[in-house]
């Protein structure tokens, strides 16, 4: 499903004549099967988010190969990345990244609007999904009227609505208390088991890592699988 080989990336900071190079990813390889939940752990600043951004196409790594569903995405243009993301990835962020001007319902509907799905089909699909993940009551609420857990549910809903094969999550429970965290983890587990969605989850948290089938550790830009 996801084949990452020899991915390296170096950030350059400072002025041209006094440039400093910060190697963030060093020859990273990662192989994720369909339907797997993979956790990436590691210290702050070790390069976990950078790896995820490279997979998503937010960031263009210096070298390496990234194949998703057999498609090489390293040489995609920005337009191609956008179209690819829309159909293949769902995203869950630590700070939810919901649209403040849209209700919970409308936030979940957004990817379908981008896909050009007609209005009545959209409404049905969002309705059904909101029932599944227990959000019907807050459908008309705006993000600032929701708890952290509810917001993260909405954001998971938004990542799921297009039925993507892969969900990329960067510290999905990072801003939640432990009880809410359990809820979200249970939801992820359910979705993986019921729908066979592949997850790549970045986390600091062992609880989260325990949900995963496999666990990788990032250390100074080097990724290693843990037993």
């Amino acid at each position: 499903m996801i084949e990452i080989k020899h991915v390296s990336h170096t950030f350059k900071i400072g002025k041209k004549d006094n440039e400093q190079e910060i190697p963030v990813l060093t020859d990273v390889a990662l192989h994720v099967h369909k339907g797997e939940v993979v956790a990436i752990v590691g210290k702050s600043g070790s390069g976990k988010s950078t790896l995820l951004q490279t997979i998503a196409g937010f960031l263009h790594a210096d070298v390496g190969s990234i194949q998703i569903n057999g498609q090489e995405t390293m040489h995609f243009t920005e337009e191609q990345h956008a179209a690819f993301r829309l159909d293949n990835f769902g995203f869950v962020f630590q700070n939810f990244q919901l649209m403040p001007g849209l209700t919970a319902f409308e936030n979940i509907e957004l990817p379908l609007i981008l896909q050009g799905v007609p209005s009545n089909e959209r409404k049905q699909r969002v309705q059904k999904l909101m029932e599944q993940i227990g959000l019907t009551e807050v459908a008309k609420h705006y993000p600032n009227e929701l708890s952290g857990g509810q917001q993260q549910r909405v954001s998971i809903g938004r990542s799921l609505i297009t039925n993507p094969p892969i969900i990329l999550a960067d510290e999905p429970t990072g801003s939640l208390d432990s009880e809410t965290e359990q809820e979200i983890l249970a939801l992820i587990k359910d979705l993986n088991e019921a729908l066979g969605i592949t997850f790549i989850i970045i986390t600091h948290d062992d609880e989260v890592a325990n949900v995963a089938h496999r666990r990788f550790r990032m250390h100074d830009g080097i990724l290693k699988e843990e037993a």
Binding site: A82, Q97, G101
Partner: protein, 431 residues
Amino acid sequence: MLFKDQIAFVRQHIRKNKMRVFMTVLAATIGCAFLIVLASVGFGIQQTMNNEILQDEQVTRIQFYDQNATTEDLDKIKQQDHVKAVLKHTTVHYDVTASLKDRDVYTTNSFYDMKDYQAVKGKLFAGTYPKNDKEVIVGYHFAQGLLNEKERNAISDAELNVKEGEQVDYSKYGYQGDIIGQTISVAFKDQGEEGQTLTETFKVVGVTDKPSYDWQRDTSLIFSDQALPMIEKTFTKTEDNISAEYVIHVDHMENVMPLLKKLKDDGYHVYSVLEQMDQINMFFFVFKAGLIFVGTIAVLISSIGIFNTMTMAVTERTREIGVLKAIGASPKLIQRLFLMESAFIGILGTVLAVILSYIISIIVNITMPLILQAATNEDTFTKQAFVFSVIPWQLVVIAATISIGVAMISGWRPARKATKIDVIQALRQEL
């Protein structure tokens, strides 16, 4: 993304910033309305002047000056397409005074072949056309112009004592009876050294139509060309004292210029007032272009507002744009959404401007003549169908193109900026 949803998306953004968008639309409206109203004055004055010229019956005529024109020349001209008639107009360059009993009037004279003249003129105001050399038709104001000493004094008194805003009523002076059937005596007087005078009597048989302008006074005498030998017997004919010009009557105004060009190419000395109109139109073309240029500056100033509004909209929504891009909105789509927003401002501003301009134009056309009349004390402005402001559809198209175009151009950079937003940076931003 469906077009319907794109519209909904843009509408939702506009609704969120109603006040700001409203002010920007207002600026765009004022800029565009200024452009339209300013240019409409150019169109209005041009229309007034053209109407003035077109009202004149001269427009379907071509003057042809050639004392030595041969009958072949005339036949050739007569055979051209669209020529209704070629009228020979002879004038005697002597002082001509017509008198009836104690009344007299200093006047002008014309000699025509009466058959041709009748064919061109059609019906007279009253009476018939002269059938011989001793009959004459007179201008509409001829009888009014026939004054005696007493009336001349009365008129100069009245002109001296006329009150502000009032006018001397000339119609109560002059010969009050029926002029038709009267016999007048006409004196042709050479002012040169010999000082010859020829006095003849003529019977008035007809009166011509009222001139097309209110201010025109027609006291002329129109003789049959059969009367010419009588004159030539007394005065030796030279180019200076008896001259002829030919007036080519054309069936339709639009055929005048092509015919004129053809005759000029053939080497004839011809002239039409339409040539003057061509020059006037050329002048107005430049004049209107100048007004549109000045008006465009106002539109450009208002575009700064649009640029500002759109830049702010993009900056404010940086995080939202980042999220949109993260979940798969293409840069092209994002650019289009912002361009649609600036286009909306431009289009709404233009539509309102067009409506506003028509209203201003109507008000100007109603009030300006009244104001000018009050200021100048002349009723020419209210009487003459003076148009100050005209908004033809072409002006609307030009103004709309400029206004919407400028709005799109000023929205373009902010829209580009939106597509360049870096997802990672944008998502890092907190609310």
